[in-house]
Symmetry: D2
């Protein structure tokens, strides 16, 4: 079996998730398209990197992503750093001929995303962007229903991503609240997942109008951990300004004529990882809520009138990816499984010399949507979303 | 006990609901503020009216609403006709000094609503508009939480009203799909309920931007029954044009700084009477779904971290209106109960010479929001919602 | 239209519910099988009865049920007193040739129930026992599915009725906790409803084994109100002994070979009126929860493997009783509607000289099951349930 | 970090799950109590074992479990074979001084379980039995609530495990339907999990009475795969007799005075891995459904009357095991995580020379309950459950 040598840039939460995915991928997908070799992991200091290598079972470690990117023994660069480093690393990796998987959002701005996309295009490497939620089996099942025409022509898509881990004004000012690192707030961090789901399930978004809000103008300065989600609150220390959005709500038009809405907020007490979509078609409807991710709800117009209503379908061996996962439905899909599937689909493309979606074109297109959402939030106007192929789509 | 003599204009579905409400009101609310006397019911023909009187237990019947409105023995006019008759009847009733309860939306256009409002103002009569869903005990409980500050300052309100009874292109072209009778489609018919809930729970809406869609351009011509909801489908008879909207989605701003979204659609397969709202505040969140109307969900920021999450509260004796309804929670709130409470609150105001909400001012204000939604749907711009007190709010 | 003159014995919660039902029945069911005339209502004092008559719109009132039972102007006796009075009133009514509807359980013991049943048999009057929950449209839909064979041969039935209104040891010692009045505790009060649902949906129960528990041995003595459900707690006044069960759990066998379980408890914090059943058949399953009573869940074996799962069907015009109720699904079924349907089905039988189920035979059979549950709780043995036709079923 | 050398006996579904757990354990739990080394995996043929080693990343493979059990380089034997091999392997492993983790149920009969328990006792090795569902974070949270007294004294526990993967009479006759291999049907396979949850959360079970049923008397003979769950149906090939139960329902008494019920069935169309429990205490209630395993529902008596109801708590960093798992609630707990936690708790005990629960004593005690359930199913009597320390508990 072909071996693929991987270097992981970033030893935080995502480093953990990706390490698990590489270890588990062939256990789930067998025969496996390739054997991922966890060669080297990079973190900001040697100490952090050494610990990450030990914890996540990587052969080696480094504190220099540049060295690693240029290491001829490496086939794949996996980028899980804060957003502002994505472009520099990815472009260097592309230039070094490495295949690349990058955490989402692809970059803080569409301009940077474009540079990444173009560098990868030029280098001809395989790319992926880690919008893992479309790998949830129930989401893949929704896609299958749509492709089969089971709900007819899509009229409307509503997507939400609601969280509360930072709804407390005393949760710390991590990089996710700083524009120069993150690019945007809820829009890029979680809204981009909803944009990806909309594009995956319905098609390209052509126009948006938005309401973009900041509710918490400052937060306690954070010492230590770089990538903290949530974390302890300190209410009386010094505070720093938040210069990104907490919430964005949009109305959208798709190129194919469907309409819809998107919402992302970090201020929804009681909602944790509430990624939902509801899709209405001429022949039926679909509802999904990631918090109950083993199940997909689907309603069919043509069910007998006294037996019609949303069906709660549990994913399992009979649904997409199911034969590779667990032997019966509802045994339990977790975050791990979404990442294992993602690793499989990417590595399969690398092994076979193909492509995978979502790739850098998708990440760039999603960034164009994000930028349009933010621009509409500023102007109050409907904003057209350009296409990745449009040379005037954005400044590089 | 004071008797209040009522005339009911309209013997359809709403005539039934209101008749039940008058019969049951003192059974629930005791001591009762007044005894409603079901004096006379009006329908378009004598035959229909006679049958309605017999079925709904009215003392008399008539096919002339004008005679009834001018009958000195009548105290209250209850209007449950198609929307295009509301203004004429209500204005005549006001001029005759009758108190008035009118089904929603108050009128097909804000202009007509204004004339009704001004006529009632001038006459000094008690008015009510039948946005009954705010009378659901769970909705009244949400209002109580908000008024108590239980969820803090409101950041965001999202309301939906999704239905599918007319999602089939072969469901008949009733008056609800004809602009000259209904004024608008989903916006006035069901969206107005969501507007009422938003205003009741959060406050006045100041601006909207909207996407307004028609999905089904023509429907089979309907013979017979005036007010059919749903009904049998005929696929090969002659069809007539639908000139109203099937769906409207809006982003909204409230005067108090909160933001939100509204959605109304008749094309949501699997959704029946899916009136929901989710409200995020600085201290908690509320979620309501009318399809499970005995319950309200509420999450509190300050619950202990390992015991925090949406609470499913069933309304009953300890919640608003509860002492008058059923002795234990979840015994069962139906459509009837919302109408019984509505009748009580209106008749209490009549008996005591007070006022009740929502009244014609509210109905007019809701119509101004509806008109703004429709206008934004045409222009793609944010549209300011005037206040009922604004002399330039709308043409009369 | 035929008039049926009714006398109501009991002016409490059930007096209210039945009064509403009689007023509303022809509004819902039209053409109506009869017009119920609310002739006279009886309570324990003239004052209470007079108030009840005024509140619930009865023509007259009385404090003597005996006079009323023998009044030649009365056609129907409606019994809604505490359980220990059912037999005496019903037998007198039967002997006077009156048709009878009686609240559940039919009597405190199977022996008394038998006497009622035999008296009614002898008199040839129409009888009904008010197990109203089988009148919930979603329950009637479950029955329809079963009768159509939609879930195949029934293997298993599990029914529950969980409440918490008296889970607090300081809720008052109403008659429902006194054996000489109520006969039993949770078994008769709420368990009997589950027994009725089991018999209605699956068939006759042949054997039971049970665990019967009392958790709260004494409660505060209650002053005043006779029929309080819940009510205020007083923690330091005098207390009296509870001599009935708080909970009963049973395994059951049906005559047709199906098996099952029944559970009734008043000590389930967080459950209000949690009447549920889940039925597994060879071709599908059904689940119902009264707390969300507009909906029924049904799963079909033969649905395509990747589209199989419980369907959430909302009752409405296309499901049993639906044409008489509200025009679209989920508009709202409440307690009222179950009672209105019950009144209709009973009065139709009276008007047409037919029979209705559940009648006194059913009430007696349910009492035989209840007695078997209690006996098994004492002995720990499986107890055979006799048939109503068995002359040795119980002592009279 | 201490290394622990593991040998895995069995390369099926459980081999996969355990392999993933060993790979991922230190990624989640850090600093890790030990580093598991996946030394050798055993399957019935060399070919199967070689493939398993490659797929699941084991250093070596073998088709002789005896050789492996006696290999001095092995510290831990992990048994994931069909039930009838558990005892022989475990006893040999104990005699060789190996620590042992064994899949559930511990053995086909309590007698065999006793021999395993006694052998391990004698050898003084660390043991564990893989009732992984108590490792679900939400179940651990339920345990925490109970230990804190949050729901008071427990009155009642109801547990269910409902599935439908073999509800089709044409699903194949795998070893799970053969008494000589499996010992029992639903009782041991899935009911034992519910017994484990009952013992974990409430305490020892002292008595049971049961209804045990077989619904499908024969199934198609299966060629090939040993451990198939579900699998393709063949309707016209030769069939073999099923000599185990499809369903068991029990009433139970706990030694501490609580009561309850248990149900396990494989014939519940629409239920997939429906492991639920509902617990009523004097101060509150708990509800759990594994199909929505990220959440636990809890109701508290002492919540304010108008804010009382089941809270839906999502497990995350603030709940048991949460700091080691994912950074926010509802990111996603799957089957993997339950197995990773299980591996951690077992290996920690091995590394530290401690003990872990559930161990062979628990597995034996659960088998005693299972045997009592089966015996009561035969006799119809209440059956006392002996204690593991009782020398007459069962024949060896």
């Amino acid at each position: 079996m072909q071996e693929i040598n991987i270097a992981m840039i970033g030893g935080g939460f995502m480093g953990k998730a990706h390490s698990l995915a590489y270890a588990a991928m062939p256990m789930f997908f067998w025969p496996s398209p390739a054997r991922p070799i966890k060669k080297i992991i990079v973190d900001v200091t040697d100490d952090l990197a050494r610990t990450a290598a030990e914890r996540y079972s990587w052969d080696g470690y480094s504190s220099s992503w540049r060295d690693v990117v240029n290491d001829p023994g490496i086939d794949v660069i996996d980028i899980a750093t804060p957003n502002n480093l994505h472009a520099e690393i990815a472009i260097a990796a592309a230039e070094a001929g490495k295949h690349i998987i990058c955490e989402k959002p692809l970059a803080p701005t569409a301009g940077e995303a474009r540079r990444m996309y173009e560098a990868a295009q030029k280098a001809g490497v395989v790319t992926a962007v880690a919008f893992n939620y479309r790998r949830t089996p129930a989401v893949a099942l929704a896609k299958k229903y749509i492709d089969e025409g089971a709900i007819g022509t899509i009229l409307n898509f509503r997507g939400t991503y609601l969280q509360d881990w930072s709804a407390d004004p005393n949760s710390p000012l991590s990089w996710r609240f700083q524009k120069d690192i993150a690019g945007s707030g809820a829009v890029g961090d979680i809204g981009s997942h909803v944009v990806d789901l909309a594009r995956y399930l319905v098609g390209e978004i052509s126009e948006v109008t938005s309401l973009v809000s900041n509710f918490i103008p400052d937060r306690p300065l954070q010492s230590g951990g770089f990538d903290a989600l949530g974390g302890s609150s300190t209410s009386d220390g010094p505070r720093g300004a938040v210069d990104v959005d907490d919430e964005a709500m949009s109305l959208i038009k798709f190129r194919n004529g469907a309409v819809g809405s998107l919402e992302a907020t970090r201020n929804a007490w009681g909602r944790n990882n509430y990624i939902t979509f509801e899709i209405h078609g001429t022949e039926g409807s679909i509802f999904f809520n990631y918090e109950n991710r083993d199940e997909l709800q689907v309603a069919f117009k043509n069910d007998r009138a006294d037996r019609r209503g949303f069906r709660t379908v549990y994913t399992g061996p009979n649904t997409p990816y199911g034969e590779s996962l667990w032997p019966i439905p509802a045994l339990g899909i977790g975050y791990s499984e979404t990442k294992i599937i993602e690793a499989h689909d990417f590595l399969k493309a690398v092994a076979e010399g193909g492509t995978v979606e979502p790739n850098f074109a998708d990440g760039y297109q999603a960034a164009l949507v994000d930028d349009a959402i933010l621009e509409s939030g500023r102007t109050g106007e409907w904003v057209r979303v350009p296409d990745v192929t449009d040379p005037n789509a954005t400044d590089v």
